[in-house]
């Protein structure tokens, strides 16, 4: 039998046949690895989770025409979306603003894709229902009150008069009012309809603005802005700073908190493992004395006890990785109401960190073990 085989036979025998003792050490390591793995998983996944949460606060990027000469239509918007990648896009709502008339009063109408507005402006409160087909429309609360409009009314909406535009005929549409928009902001001063209805009323034209809700961090958004600015000349992209800055601040604080907790847990784990290993070594003073009496060198003793410690660290790391993912999953479902993504790289990292921490924690008690005098121990002194 080789020395290596005997080495592993001894350390596995120590772990398996002294399992009640070793279980305590294993649990100490596994608990530390669980919290570590769980918190790091959350730390990594928080931007994604929070990004989805932040999308409830509305669009975080807008596209505008780069200049008066630029062609700002849906094709240009699609080019910008291609730069970002459709996987990151939560919603895109193009807007075209034109003046129409209701009860002979000039009103600003926004032609848009209302199904997309639901995703880019999920905070809108609708009294009634969202307009979901042509010849339906919604009005802002201020407009509804000033024109005495109610949900369910059939309203004649007129395009510009011949005086307003030399090119346009005086079109009108009888449209059903499905909902009244309440936001507490300037959105209450407009009416909202499909782009098709607006074109029917005022003819074809270019977009004024497109609002985008993008699932990305502040730094990523800044990167997209630069890239779109250089690759799509018709568009000037901008960040909605009110939203992105809030996101960055909250994310930064949350990640700092998780990082701090992770460091504290690491230190506590190390203390716990060191204490446990000290107890393990202390209760095995006689065995160490015996091994020295049988001719074990200091390096042999260190190798054997460190081998046990590292094996425990590895086992605790594996256990902790699995439990850590379950822990992170539980927290994610409870806090963010969505499942977490498994980070494959975290498995070897957790095992490696557990092994390193256990090795460090074992170093001092094992070093002390080599100073045990075999003569004193074997006499029971």
């Amino acid at each position: 039998m080789t020395k290596r085989k005997m080495f592993f036979r001894m350390i596995t025998a120590s772990l398996v046949r002294r399992r009640s003792r070793m279980l305590v050490a294993l649990l100490a390591i596994a608990v530390g690895a669980t919290i570590l793995s769980g918190l790091v998983t959350i730390y990594i996944d928080v931007p994604r989770q929070m990004g989805a949460e932040f999308r409830n606060y509305g669009a975080n990027m807008i596209f505008m025409a780069a200049s008066n000469d630029a062609v700002f239509d849906m094709d240009a918007v699609d080019k910008g979306i291609d730069v970002i990648g459709s996987g990151k896009i939560v919603g895109v709502a193009p807007y075209r603003y034109e003046t129409v008339r209701i009860h002979e009063q000039p009103i600003v109408a926004a032609g848009t894709d209302l199904s997309q507005v639901m995703t880019t402006s999920p905070y809108w409160m609708i009294d009634g229902e969202w307009a979901d087909s042509d010849e339906q429309f919604m009005v802002g609360r201020n407009i509804a009150e000033s024109l005495n409009l109610h949900v369910g009314d059939l309203v004649n909406v007129m395009g510009p008069t011949e005086e307003d535009s030399e090119d346009q005929l005086n079109f009108g549409l009888d449209m059903k009012l499905t909902g009244i928009v309440e936001t507490g902001g300037k959105e209450e001063d407009y009416i909202y309809m499909s782009m098709t209805d607006l074109e029917t009323l005022v003819g074809e034209g270019e977009l004024d603005v497109a609002e985008l809700s993008v699932s990305a961090t502040g730094d990523e958004l800044a990167g997209y802005i630069d890239k779109i600015g250089s690759e799509v000349p018709d568009i000037t992209p901008r960040l909605v700073k009110r939203v992105t800055q809030s996101e960055s601040t909250v994310l930064g604080k949350l990640q700092a908190l998780v990082f701090l907790v992770t460091v504290v847990v690491l230190v506590l784990t190390m203390i716990c493992v060191a204490t446990t290993m000290t107890a393990v070594v202390t209760e095995r003073r006689k065995e160490i004395g015996l091994r020295k009496a049988l001719g074990a060198s200091d390096s042999s003793i260190i190798k054997e006890f460190m081998g046990e410690g590292l094996l425990l660290g590895g086992a605790g790391g594996i256990l902790g990785s699995v439990l850590g993912f379950l822990f992170a999953q539980y927290v994610s479902v409870r806090v963010f109401a969505s499942s977490i993504r498994f980070q494959p790289l975290l498995l070897p990292v957790t095992i490696l960190v557990s092994v390193l921490i256990t090795g460090l924690a074992c170093a001092v008690p094992i070093r002390n073990a080599t100073s045990i005098d075999p003569a004193l121990v074997l006499k029971g002194e």
Binding site: M1, T2, K3, K5, M6, F7, R9, M10, A13, S14, R17, R18, K286, E287, L290, R291, K292, A293, L294, G295, A296, S297, D298, S300, D373, P374, A375, L378, K379, G380
Partner: protein, 225 residues
């Protein structure tokens, strides 16, 4: 030629002389019993001969080499290569089986050989108990495992500290029979004991008192019983 020679050995702790100018030589193949009351210096002498302690004064020649000035590292190597230890409390590793306990001594000495370890256990009558843990063995069986472990590396000297101190009469006889066999094979045995019956079966009995040799007698009845 003497295998072991102690020349003017003293071990001094402050004002206390645990050993006081001991001169002793043990020949190759000799069976020596060391007796004496508690505090007479038996264990101190055993520790020095067993390379687990160093004398304050004097020389210890083992196989002609002075080991009294050697470093702790060298003493460990000498102990591993030349000395087999048997303890009153057995001192087996409690999570290793009988055969694994024997193999531990091989592991530190050279290469573990399970077949050879099983043969050593067979010699002490424990082949069938080879896979048992110490907690599954009686005191006598544990001591026999300890003897098998001490023999496995073919040491030049077997040092036994009260080897029958924790055994009943039947097991004491088994252990003493094993010692007789070892002596017949020319193994050098040094046995510390309180028990006159154990001392009587040895070839030579040295009695210590207050760190000095009080008597050094050849057992005239040796080999006759």
């Amino acid at each position: 030629m003497s295998l072991l020679e102690l020349k003017g050995i003293s071990k001094i702790y402050g004002d206390l002389k645990a050993l006081d100018n001991i001169n002793l030589s043990v020949d190759n193949g000799e069976w020596v019993a060391i007796m004496g009351p508690s505090g007479s210096g038996k264990s101190t002498m055993m520790n020095i001969i067993g390379c687990m302690d160093k004398p304050s004064l004097g020389e210890v020649l083992l196989d002609g080499v002075d080991i009294s000035k050697e470093s702790a590292k060298n003493l460990t190597e000498i102990r591993r290569d030349k000395i087999g230890l048997i303890f009153q409390q057995f001192h087996l590793v409690n999570y290793l089986t009988a055969v694994e306990n024997v193999m531990v001594a091989q592991y530190y000495h050279s290469l573990p050989d399970e077949k050879e370890a099983l043969e050593a256990l067979d010699r002490v009558g424990l082949l069938e108990r080879a896979k048992h843990l110490p907690s599954q063995l009686s005191g006598g069986e544990q001591q026999r495992v300890c003897i098998a472990r001490a023999l496995i590396n073919h040491p030049e000297i077997i040092l036994a500290d009260e080897p029958t101190g924790n055994l009943d009469e039947a097991n004491e006889n088994i252990v003493l029979d094993l010692f007789k066999q070892l002596h017949e094979e020319h193994t050098t045995l040094i046995v510390v004991t309180h028990d006159p019956e154990v001392a009587e079966v040895a070839q030579r009995t040295i009695t210590l008192d207050h760190g000095r040799i009080k008597s050094d007698k050849i057992n005239e009845m040796f080999g006759k019983s």
